[in-house]
Subunit: 645 residues, 2 copies
């Protein structure tokens, strides 16, 4: 199965008014801050212990392991983000620090290649005995991803070789008879092994990933009965019995019809399935990917690209079950959805996957991080009343304001590595052809066998729909340029060299073919703010509407509209007014609308129920992009609102 | 502080078309069924182990303790329900069985008076070492209540004497220096001690209850630091730190401003506080009761009388936080609210407390039991979509259909004892005067110093508003008859001997004074079905209305209205049509209305979000009393519904 390729990140130089706000945070704020965190030098944050754990495991200092069983992954994701950041902002001092961390990881590697500070320090004899909870393979996967990223950007192979030794050990162990049915409790190593296989050309790592995927959910079910192993010991002290759906091992992956269980585990697995389907030309596996992706996007995804609607167990529930106030919708799960969707687009050249990828990136992933880069959402509700987000209640998981970096922190470094690798979402190539998925200003050059292509984007997307592209090429033959036509902008005009043209449109891309020696292209998408309605089976959104503009979902915030947002009805018969404000939220397009609001007039604090209907009063409403919420002091927020019938 | 008295249950003979459906279930169905359960003779139910535990503790058989730490309370509540049932349906065989159980309890009593099968069998040296979780005093309280009830109805004092010995031990232990600050983790013993004091006339039990209440929440906080006791051992394996609010020990009870924490613990404590306020003429304590009751009824109570809106920890959350689909609203908590409200009415003679009591009894308490008496709700949502009530999700606690009796079952026997003691809610007396709180057909006679009064009620309340009362009396002086005028029926007409009269109205009671030698009184309440709206601060109910008729809250059910109840808008401008149906639900008043429903037409299974607003179609709606829901095969249910603006 053909698969479009990503461009090397070091060839992509972004400089975009919308995205700079975030990508520059990665280098200026997140990476330095997380480095302090990993070293336990942030006075008012919970200690991470990450570097300390590696030092203890390496025998460089006395002490014990501290933190969660998957604590090493914070170092891995930090290194991965550092690698990506060096591609667009070289920093020799940072690179030196990363090299030192890599040296440390090497020293903590055991003679047989094993790396995991929890098991090395606390329970060496229990290695691989609790895959359900132990996260050894999950941790290995993140380290593998980091090693591949570091090699690709810097060309240095030390980390890659360290991890290749570990991968060799994994291949050996998991082909032993006693582990011949074993699978990871939290999928991720599959992605790492596939990337290692791609960069080294050694198919055995890919085969190992395929084995993990093929074994999963088959009988006898390894994860279900693993605790009978005498070496097994409980790590999470879970009272409830293990639910196979939680780890997507309830049936063989090829037979899975709907997205089930923990949404991060699920999407990471789907990523590996898509990669393997392409690598092995496995149509059955690919059909499973299509089915699972369709199930998510057609039935189980928030308008913000959030997934995993149960507050408990961070998991998928059932079709159309999308409560707005008590959901989990973890930032990492939307990253997983973006990664999965990107792979599906690479295989199919179908822009619908890019639409979903953008939905996740522009809304939930960006909402996950504050505009100052200092605090993060793990849980991403679409409606917040801070008053009922109380600890020791069923709303405990919902935080009405972003949280500082935690001792156990999967989302912040995951958001960092995602932002730092934004270029990988923007372009695909195959041979001489180029696909433009996202409109982000910057200059990119890539080499083909026939020559070099340079593409420059200049746009104020997504606040404006016009994109100027300049393409220069010295290639000897014409090639195809595919421009994503998002589903939210079916109407568009396209000019090449000032002449309006009607390109071929296929599966959400406009295809142009030319030498593009020196060509100016302007594509203008018609993407005004508009009302969106959810399928009537989504009970939580019945009688409600949301506002979208391009890839952005908008929301009401208390800062603009007062509290009691649930009391608002919007008038959908009145036009929406769009205005760009330089001052609000460092520059954003805001949207104004008219509506009515239930008045508290006539009610006192003594009457909870009355037979008199409440009175409505006229209100002016103002909306901001959902990704920007909670950057002005907390308060209520709502994406969906009632509309006047 | 004066406190109105309850009439002896054995003087109250009810025979009511509405209530017979339930009170007869207690004798015909629940008591015999629970007896089989307590003896582990129900093949498809989880074993209870209750009787077995007492046999083991008594040394009558080999074995160990099984079940929850508070398992003994199932026996206690069963005995209490048996006692009440014997007052209106004498049954010598049942009484003999009860006597045998009482003998068994006596044999399980330890030489010093102690009774608790968990600690006696499993951890005798750990007695009283974990009051936070151990439930020893909670269990003692329920046994005390049962013993007092059994004595009052049967006149037999064996059980009372057994429990008095245990109460003596409790008084001794909890006045020792090392327990001088100790309080129960789950309040209930206070109620039992107060009842024991009232029936024996021995004030020391009342004093012990008062000590427990006065100590609570004072520093140093016993429950907060109890685990430092070397004998303490964890029973519930809770990972989270103890939250003082959960057990209402976050501050002294007199300083508590709002209802906090576990709602059953809270209301049982408030009952004791009210009793003690009256007994000790303690105005400060009474003011705390008023404050806490107001906080519940004005800010934290569902229209159904449900309380405790957090699905986790069965607890109160914050003012106006009343989500309809994921709440807990335990049946036992509404029983607690009814018990607390009744006590407040006894002290104040204010009918507003009866209004709340009725709200809890007629709606949540009755909803807690199926019309065949064989299954029960513990959790009482106001909106159910069975599709998302999934295990291993944040909706796990919500059961869309009633559950069979559980191994650990607080609610079913609590509902049974409540229904069996219905008479205690109907009448109060003081000297020669009589208060009628609820309109329930039946005949009641009570003696005063001056003679005997007989009152006969004849009514089809709450489906009809007319109540015929016949009062016969041979008393030598006139006395006052107070008839509750519910807040839902401000308009009424009253005739005495066929002559319309205008009685004095005070605090929700109409007062008549006469010899009532042989008097017919007819009171007709104007209580048509009507729309009710919640305070605009209740975000969950904004833009919604509910239907009430008299004390009954109505609901939409899938059986009458199809699924997707969230897609319905009711037309509040059209009149509600009331019809009594003999066939539906064994006879009920149903309500019909007009509305519109969002149509699924035009939507397919591939489109989750679209810019086209959904179409509305006309629908006829039919409502049944909330208490009757889920008696016709499950499905969706909703109390609150959107209304057309």
């Amino acid at each position: 199965m053909e698969k479009l390729e990503l461009l090397p990140l070091k060839d992509i130089h972004l400089d975009d008014p919308f995205w700079n706000k975030y990508t520059r945070l990665v280098t200026k704020q997140i990476i330095p801050y997380q480095w302090e965190t990993l070293n336990d030098r942030i006075p008012d944050a919970e200690p991470s212990h990450c570097i300390s754990n590696f030092q203890v495991a390496a025998g460089l200092k006395e002490g014990t392991f501290e933190g969660a069983v998957f604590q090493d992954t914070d170092v891995a994701k930090w290194l991965e983000a550092v690698a990506y950041s060096l591609s667009y902002e070289p920093d020799s001092s940072l690179e030196k620090t990363a090299d030192e961390v890599i040296d440390l990881i090497g020293k903590a590697q055991q003679p047989d290649g094993y790396i995991n500070t929890y098991f090395t320090i606390l329970a060496p004899e229990h290695r691989w005995s609790n895959l359900r909870e132990g996260h050894e393979l999950y941790t290995a996967g993140h380290l593998l991803e980091a090693a591949v990223a570091y090699y690709k950007v810097t060309g240095k192979d030390k980390f890659l070789n360290i991890m290749r030794r570990f991968a060799d050990l994994i291949c050996d162990v998991f082909h032993q008879e006693k582990y011949s049915r074993a699978v990871p409790g939290h999928q991720e190593v599959e992605i790492g092994l596939i990337k290692l296989s791609e960069v080294t050309g050694d198919r055995k790592y890919m085969d190992m990933a395929k084995d993990f995927i093929d074994r999963r959910g088959t009988e006898p079910n390894y994860l279900v009965s693993e605790h009978k192993n005498p070496l097994w010991f409980s790590i999470f002290k879970d009272v409830k019995p293990f639910l196979p759906e939680y780890s997507q091992c309830h049936k063989p992956v090829r037979e899975q019809e709907s997205a089930e269980g923990h949404s991060v585990r699920a999407t990471y697995m789907y990523c590996a399935m898509a990669d393997l389907a392409a690598a092995y030309d496995d149509k059955e596996l690919f059909q499973a990917c299509e089915r699972l992706w369709n199930n998510i996007v057609e039935r189980r995804m928030y308008i913000t690209g959030g997934i995993g609607s149960s507050g408990a167990y961070e998991r998928f529930t059932t079709d159309y079950d999308l409560p707005n106030d008590c959901n989990y919708s973890e930032s990492c799960a939307s990253i997983g959805l973006a990664l999965f969707s990107r792979r599906m687009a690479q295989i199919t050249k179908n822009g619908k996957y890019i639409d979903a990828m953008e939905r996740a990136l522009y809304n939930t992933v960006l909402a996950g991080i504050a505009m100052d880069g200092k605090s993060f959402f793990y849980v991403n509700p679409l409606e917040v009343w801070p008053g009922n987000c109380l600890s020791h209640t069923s709303m405990e998981h919902v935080k009405p304001v972003r949280q500082k970096w935690f001792g156990v922190a999967c989302c912040p470094p995951n958001i960092a590595r995602t932002l730092a690798s934004l270029g990988e979402y923007i372009y695909f190539r195959k041979d001489d052809d180029l696909w433009v998925n996202m409109y982000v200003s910057g200059e990119t050059a890539f080499r083909t066998e026939k020559g070099t292509v340079t593409i420059t984007q200049n746009t104020r997307f997504p606040f404006e729909g016009m994109v100027h592209l300049h393409i220069a090429s010295d290639t000897s033959r014409p090639f195809r340029l595919a421009l994503h036509v998002p589903s939210y902008a079916a109407n568009f005009t396209l000019t090449a060299g000032g002449v309006r043209i009607q390109p071929e449109i296929k599966d959400g891309y406009a295809y142009l073919e030319d030498h593009f020696a020196d060509t100016d292209i302007t594509i203008t998408f018609d993407m005004p703010a508009h009302f969106t309605y959810a399928h009537p089976d989504v009970r939580a959104d019945a009688g409600k509407t949301a506002i979208e503009k391009g890839p952005l979902v908008y929301c009401l915030e208390e800062a603009d509209n007062g509290d009691h947002l649930a009391d608002i009805y919007i008038n959908t018969k009145q036009p929406l007014e769009e205005t760009y404000s330089e001052t609000i939220l460092s520059g954003t397009c805001i949207i104004k609308a008219k509506g009515k609001k239930i008045s508290a007039g006539g009610w006192d604090g003594q009457t909870l129920y009355a037979s008199q209907p409440p009175v409505l009063e006229d209100v002016d409403l103002q909306f901001i992009p959902y990704c920007y919420w909670d950057n002005r002091g907390g308060g209520e927020m709502s994406v969906w609102m009632k509309y006047l019938i």
